[in-house]
């Protein structure tokens, strides 16, 4: 579980890079999307990029535990689903204010992360992957059994979250910038945590757990805290997803969704944070473009994944690095 998971192409997790030009560019582009969208099919573009950012937040959280903590979770979609259901369920009871629903969403997924993490973190490597999958599936089936809240069919979110009763997110542009703000906050929180004292221990546990124990660290506790942070941010993503799609369903928590999140993180390059945003965008936009191009986009997308793995180690960022390296050598 330790070195085996370090993607060879990715820069070492401890490399202390400042917030570089690339993340700044990513956020600049995202900030400009609504302006550009205004000249085209606005609501379509806004909706698409809102979705990209929502999943980028979930992917960031996954990259944090996966790329820095070495904890490959195959049940990450459960946190997203719990956050989304918190919004929808509170909504059916007439509670739409985000001052209530946002903390509930974060807290519910954090508690789920704490409880499942206590069990999951006893296991290692592929067993960890599978036990997180098991808990993800449990959440999926529980959601499907919530008959008063739509069961398998899911549940419509009648009204987007309000703030002090004011329908703040009703406007798609406002929602877009709200999601962007959340993405920014999540990104900078994770950056800070990764390079903090806590983050140092968390990263160290990935590299050599035995050494960390003999240094005096109870790595189980550190990993559980990291897992809870990632779970809460997954819940944030779910909160936003429910607002963006105005609908929740058990499918949000299916193992395929968890798999997609892993792919996003790998697409962008493990252990880079901004790579997770690029990965989410690359995945969802590729899906969208190929899907618009042909009904059978999976015939192209599937082999594309294989090619990325075989020839682009370290994800898209790694690919970019190796191309740049090759060019500068010539």
């Amino acid at each position: 579980m330790t070195q085996a998971l370090a993607t060879p192409g990715a820069p070492p997790a401890s490399q202390s890079d400042r917030p570089g030009a690339l993340p700044a560019m990513i956020f600049l582009v995202l900030a400009l999307v609504p302006a550009v969208a205004a000249v085209g099919p606005e609501s379509y573009v806004l909706g698409l990029f809102t979705r990209v950012m929502v999943f980028a937040i979930a992917a960031l959280a996954l990259d944090f535990i996966c790329g820095y903590g070495g904890l490959v979770s195959f049940g990450h979609a459960a946190f997203v689903g719990i956050g989304a259901y918190a919004v929808a369920i509170l909504g059916t009871h007439g509670i739409t204010d985000m001052l209530v629903s946002l903390p509930v969403a974060l807290l519910a997924s954090a508690i789920f992360a704490y409880l499942t993490g206590t069990v999951c973190l006893r296991t290692k490597s592929v067993y960890f992957i599978m036990i997180t999958l098991a808990f993800g599936q449990m959440a999926y089936f529980i959601a499907g059994s919530l008959a008063p809240y739509g069961g398998d069919d899911g549940l419509t979110v009648k009204m987007r979250s309000t703030l002090f009763g004011f329908p703040l997110l009703q406007n798609d542009r406002v929602l877009y910038y709200f999601v962007l703000l959340c993405l920014l906050v999540a990104y900078f929180v994770f950056r800070a945590v990764v390079y903090s004292r806590f983050g140092r221990v968390f990263r160290g546990a990935r590299e050599n757990p035995t050494r960390m124990a003999t240094l005096g660290f109870d790595i189980f506790r550190f990993q559980r805290v990291g897992y809870v942070i990632a779970g809460a941010v997954g819940g944030l993503s779910g909160f936003l997803l429910a607002n963006a799609t105005e609908f929740v369903s058990p499918a949000f928590m299916s193992w395929q969704r968890s798999g997609e999140l892993i792919i996003m993180v790998l697409f962008g390059g493990l252990g880079t944070l901004h790579g997770a945003i690029i990965g989410a965008a690359a995945y969802l936009l590729t899906e969208e473009v190929l899907g618009g191009f042909t009904e059978q986009w999976k015939l192209i997308f599937g082999p594309l994944l294989v090619i990325v793995v075989l020839f682009a180690r370290g994800g898209l960022l790694g690919l970019a690095c190796s191309i740049r390296g090759r060019l500068s050598r010539d």
Binding site: A6, R197, F198, R200, G204, E207, N208, R211, G216, F222
Partner: protein
């Protein structure tokens, strides 16, 4: 300081530790020697808490630590180095040591503020690096250090933990003559500051440093005492030193 009483360890049918009783006095450097497979590393693993003994007790400064997990023993002041270099390869040498400082300081649940710009921690870490002669190499990733430097880094990490007892599992393993001379020098300087348990094959190092020597064969203590006494012990010469010293 450290009291080991009638320690036993079995792996399946294999007896690796067979009734070891041993003590280390404050400030003492106690060397454990013995042929390969005598159970030296297993003994250290039991003292540091990575392996649970089958029977017997270990007490440290009057506290029974037999069933205590490794991380808590470290908190009591039990530090160790590994025979097979066990550093964090992706971390810089400085960060490896800084982690040990941080562990001792007990300030690891801080989520904001860059750990690598913490002056107090970096100063202590640099001091430990300087102690083993790695002052100039702090920024290099541990994976890129030479073998000898990694051995020194192991030692620096253990030092930074502020140990009361240092368990050294073959600190000179695989180093050249020059490197091991240097490491012997480092250990000699450290001697007396805290207790040490030294497992080592390099007899020059052992006889140059040890206050007391215990000889371990087949999981048992064959002899124990001052270096001169052990060197002269016919049992020891027959079983072990005879071939090694020639």
């Amino acid at each position: 300081m450290l009291l080991i009483n009638d320690l036993h360890k079995k792996f399946g049918g294999l007896i690796v530790t067979d009734g070891v009783t041993l003590d280390i006095a404050p400030g003492e450097l106690h060397a454990v020697i013995g042929p390969n497979g005598a159970g030296k590393t297993t003994l250290i693993n039991q003292i540091s808490g990575l392996i649970a003994p089958t029977a017997g007790t270990i007490s440290f400064n009057g506290v029974d630590v037999t069933d205590m997990p490794a991380n808590q023993r470290a908190g009591l002041g039990l530090a160790r180095s590994f025979q097979i270099t066990s550093v964090l390869p992706g971390f810089s040498a400085l960060e490896n040591v800084a982690l040990a400082v941080q562990a001792r300081a007990g300030t690891s649940y801080r989520f904001f503020g860059r750990a690598d710009r913490d002056q107090a921690i970096n100063d202590s870490a640099n001091a430990a690096l300087a102690e083993v002669g790695l002052a100039e190499r702090g920024r290099i990733a541990a994976a890129h250090l030479s073998h000898g430097e990694k051995r020194a880094l192991e030692l620096a990490i253990a030092l930074a933990m502020g140990p009361k007892l240092l368990l050294l599992d073959e600190p000179m393993a695989g180093t050249g003559r020059e490197e091991s001379e240097r490491l012997i020098g480092v250990l000699r300087r450290l001697k007396g500051r805290f207790s040490m348990l030294l497992v080592e094959h390099d007899m020059n190092a052992v006889f140059a440093l040890a206050d007391r020597i215990s000889v371990l064969t087949y999981g048992r203590i064959l002899a124990s005492g001052a270096p001169d006494k052990v060197r002269a012990d016919p049992k020891v010469v027959a079983a072990y030193l005879g071939e090694e010293m020639e």
